[in-house]
Symmetry: C2
Subunit: 364 residues, 2 copies
Amino acid sequence: MPDVRERRLEALGNLLTREQLDGLLVSGPANIRYLCGFSGSSGLLFVSHSERVLITDYRYIAQSAEEVGSIARVVIEEQSLWSGLWQQLAAMPGVKVCGFEAAYLVHRDFQRLLEQGSRWQWRPAMGLVEVWREKKDATEVAAIRDAVACAEAALEMTVGRIKAGMSEREIAGVLESSLRHKGSEDYAFASIVASGPNSAKPHARPTSRVLGKGELLLLDFGMRIGGYVSDITRTFIAGKPDAKQREVYEVVRVANERASASVRAGMLGRDADRLARGYIEERGFGEWFGHSLGHGIGLEVHEAPRLARTAETALAEGAVVTVEPGIYLPEWGGVRIEDDVHLGAAGVEVLTRFPRELLAVGKT
Amino acid sequence: MPDVRERRLEALGNLLTREQLDGLLVSGPANIRYLCGFSGSSGLLFVSHSERVLITDYRYIAQSAEEVGSIARVVIEEQSLWSGLWQQLAAMPGVKVCGFEAAYLVHRDFQRLLEQGSRWQWRPAMGLVEVWREKKDATEVAAIRDAVACAEAALEMTVGRIKAGMSEREIAGVLESSLRHKGSEDYAFASIVASGPNSAKPHARPTSRVLGKGELLLLDFGMRIGGYVSDITRTFIAGKPDAKQREVYEVVRVANERASASVRAGMLGRDADRLARGYIEERGFGEWFGHSLGHGIGLEVHEAPRLARTAETALAEGAVVTVEPGIYLPEWGGVRIEDDVHLGAAGVEVLTRFPRELLAVGKT
């Protein structure tokens, strides 16, 4: 089987021709990983019609050799990645007009292109690689499916170990060690563990607050397997729910169910968002669902497409997206239920299987 | 006691006058946090002589109100932070010439300044706030001291629970849940847990590899308390060290000791680096210490100053820096010992107290 990176780099060659570029400077970490396999935090990848060179530093000698193999030439640069880049480019006589990634290059580095890199012409490029990354192939979907399954196993372990009286941070520790136990390579994003009124903050970070009886507990966490992430949220109740908790939960659950059942490749991002938002509005909670319905996941936890009121583009066939409606009532609390959904050619598959009913935690 | 942020924002006002700017667009997350307290992942802070406005989104309504208080006006923007910014600026008639942070603004957003923001003049600014952040005040040093002490307590918990036969990822899980137990607000960076030959990779990520008897185990991890981080590395031995492990360890230990004893505020970064590197070279391992000696820590895990061969600037009085010599022998393994050191006016204080001798783990 040919290396999938070989196919991607060939496609990039064709794209360079179409865009009339002699080369592309890839600086977005997930784009670098997608094209050549390197997952370190410090690297520049330059791809021309005849050359592929990854420039990184000493800390990644062994890792870059293992990950990149023969797909690109690896240069270990002692001083700075940029001086390494000028040297490499100077040895490529046919290279004159180059693209750079406008969404990743900070202005200071753009100035380097104009100053030390003034021998070349630089053209901003947007989303060239990201567009491909949106459409997952079978191997990528399998990796995400794996990340989802392992995250669910970790969640099950965690739920059995939560007790009322634990702090949000202690619960985060249990959740995260369970994610590691099930094989997570890192944390795709800062875990959200929010109890009681804290759950009204959609992006709460775990605090020293102790989970009390009768309170909501929202867990939103990522797992990474083979480079690909899952992103799942479940909201639990510490004991028995009261009528309002039950009502709010049920509205979110039905909104999640409706959106997952009807979201399709080809749909506009704003229409997908509408699937859940319409129902939540009907039920009178529209004002309290302030974020968007979801986003793509893959090598990054937030990537194309967007499922949002302002998203005018169609969801690509092959994308894996989150469906995560929520209702947040200030000072009272919040509920969110988030699944990962593959928009395949043969139909939609909800990858997340963890129950969506309101489950109790912290029984003693 | 006046709010420290008030002092910082006043200083920023003076700086604007000196730089002949009417305002500064702050987009670096740690700079935003330093100036107004907001710690969310999505925000733009604009400061002029008469206005301070933080623009963020729905997810941070409650958090921004709590964290920012009355130090700045908070605007929750429904569409995008950028359209929020144009609206705010349009209501500030005296504001014409504005700085932006060249080290944080990506080229795509720079284009927004030139296009939608063309009513204003934009000037790149570098390191204006970072220079202040390098000099920690007493409260900041206290927060880092706390992060160090809690990290050490977590390390002690972890060491007692490591067994030969555990995988690097399981050990990472134990370490990270201990960090949470001791109060860590998040992970300042991806934990490094590297066993045997993997420890030769300075930036290894935890894998499924199992710790074997007689192997080195390198742990490099961060903790965050009150926004400030610690950054500590210790290398252990699973059982008894052989002669070579003992020799390499001892060279690194002495290099760490010498550098910690002699590093001073006012010293050039490259001279500080030399303190450890000179000794490692003398002992014949210079080739295998390929990274730099250290870096500043604070709200970020990598901030000014740099202690590196190429660092031509002096270490500021008040900085807290890491001292982290290492020796990495490909396929054999590596040793690093990393401490956090405060370069105070009254002298140097090594904040880390965890033993620096080669300790055994995994006794059964």
